[in-house]
């Protein structure tokens, strides 16, 4: 159910809360994605690009 916001502060508290969860998920996601991307790439010089 869509929450009703009576003040700007309520709106921001709700949206920022979701954003914080998303950013933490994204940071974990980036680590997993990097692992997937570079997983098979055993560059002898240790260079990623």
């Amino acid at each position: 159910m869509e929450p009703i916001f009576y003040t700007y502060q309520e709106f921001y508290t709700y949206t920022k809360g979701i954003l914080y969860i998303l950013i933490i998920a994204s940071l974990i996601g980036v680590a997993c994605f990097w692992n997937f991307l570079a997983g098979k790439d055993e560059d002898k010089n240790g260079n990623d690009f």
Binding site: E2, F11, Y14, T15, I18, L19, L22, I23, S26, G29, V30, F33, W34, F36, L37, A38, G39, K40, D41, D48, F49
Partner: protein, 390 residues
């Protein structure tokens, strides 16, 4: 060759020349019509929709896809990734032609070509984003010209001038990156003034950031896409270095593109979260937004990553074309499809066939000029007199 062999005379009427020649003839006719009878005779532009395909596709898509120049130059000259060096000249040429054609296309929209320098000499609109875009594009076109001109000077044999200009490479690259961050983001910022006209799923105060990040994706993808086509049609012009480095360029740029796409996907999702627009995803425009987000951002990201991981060059090349389409779709969505989304159908903008024909004409001119340059100038090979000097 046998004495009895019949030598076929070279003909101008090759399929490529016939098709491009026809398109160019049609484009010239439409150009004459536009400048003699006005916008109304060749476009469906109205007061509701003053910007159409010529801005949405020719300008916004053109500038985004020409971003390969600054991306490749900065990778090689600023980040020291010398293994991509062979990709610099083709990328700079693509960028130079892209920006030149953007300025060419702009003339059709503004209508009085002699007034193009007016923002610099008559009245500076210092509160206008478009003034900043105009300034940056003009300067960056100059930068790209100076980055490209050593190849032309090598072809013409002007050694001293070439030596002088090649010393400016690092300065031009830095300047190019600064200018590109400015104008790529500012093109997105143009839409900040119309929050009620642009659909909330595409509208965001982060539009400048979205446009800049997606320009990096466009540049990386376009370098892979252009090198794929160049290898197919101009492979005989390429030297050993270029051919040897091609796989590395494809893998490296594919890896970078997949990372940037991942970041772009995250910030787009955060844009929805920040504005609390989740409920809009269930609407028709929401489904179209998901087509762009999942189909043209998430999927290319995944397939680039898979291709890099498995060293599948073919997959990366196909994904680059897909990613380029995604950038085209994004720019068209922001400028045309999701713009004025609330208008009834009879007031919505549908391009005139002449507008589309002219855009095709401009792209064709670009391809013809690209072909002229790469078949004559040292773009895909190093000139024997200037090996390892750039």
């Amino acid at each position: 060759m046998s004495d009895n062999a019949i030598v076929q005379p070279r003909t101008w009427f090759t399929p490529f020349n016939v098709i491009t020649g026809t398109i160019i003839c049609i484009g010239i006719v439409i150009s004459i019509l536009r400048f003699t009878t006005g916008l109304g005779s060749v476009t469906h532009l109205t007061d509701d929709n003053p910007w159409g395909v010529w801005i949405g596709f020719d300008l916004l898509v053109g500038v985004a896809l020409a971003a390969g120049g600054y991306v490749t130059s900065s990778a090689v000259y600023l980040f020291g990734m010398k293994k991509y060096h062979s990709a610099v000249r083709p990328a700079v040429l693509t960028g130079f032609l892209g920006y030149a054609l953007v300025v060419f296309a702009l003339h059709y929209d503004v209508g009085r070509p002699w007034r193009l320098p007016y923002p610099f000499i008559m009245q500076q609109g210092t509160t206008s984003l478009l003034f900043e875009v105009a300034g940056c594009v003009a300067l960056y076109l100059t930068v790209l010209f100076l980055e490209f001109v050593p190849a032309a000077l090598e072809w013409l044999g002007f050694k001293r001038v070439r030596q002088l200009i090649i010393k400016l490479t690092l300065l031009l690259t830095v300047f190019g990156v600064v200018l590109s961050t400015l104008h790529q983001s500012s093109l997105g910022a143009l839409f900040l003034i119309s929050p009620s006209k642009l659909h909330p799923l595409w509208y965001s105060t982060y539009l400048p950031v979205y446009f800049f990040i997606s320009s990096i994706i466009a540049g990386l993808s376009m370098v892979i896409f252009e090198s794929t086509l160049s290898h197919r049609y101009f492979g005989h012009k390429m030297d050993k270095t270029h051919l040897d480095e091609n796989e590395g360029v494809t893998l490296g740029f594919g890896k970078a593109a997949s990372l940037v796409l991942f970041g772009y996907f995250i910030i787009k999702v955060m844009g929805i979260a920040g504005a609390n627009n989740w409920h809009l995803l269930g609407t028709p425009y929401g489904y179209w937004f998901l087509v762009e987000l999942i189909g043209f951002i998430a999927f290319p990201c995944f397939f680039f990553a898979t291709g890099v991981r498995n060293k599948d060059i073919k997959l990366i090349k196909w994904t680059s074309a897909w990613s380029v389409l995604g950038i085209v779709l994004n720019r068209l969505n922001v400028s045309l499809i999701a713009f004025n989304w609330q208008l009834p159908l009879d007031r919505k903008y549908i391009p005139h066939w002449m507008e589309i024909s002219l855009s095709i004409f401009i792209v064709t001119v670009g391809i013809v000029v690209f072909r002229f340059i790469v078949t004559r100038m040292p773009i895909f090979y190093e000139h024997p007199e200037y090996k390892d000097t750039h």
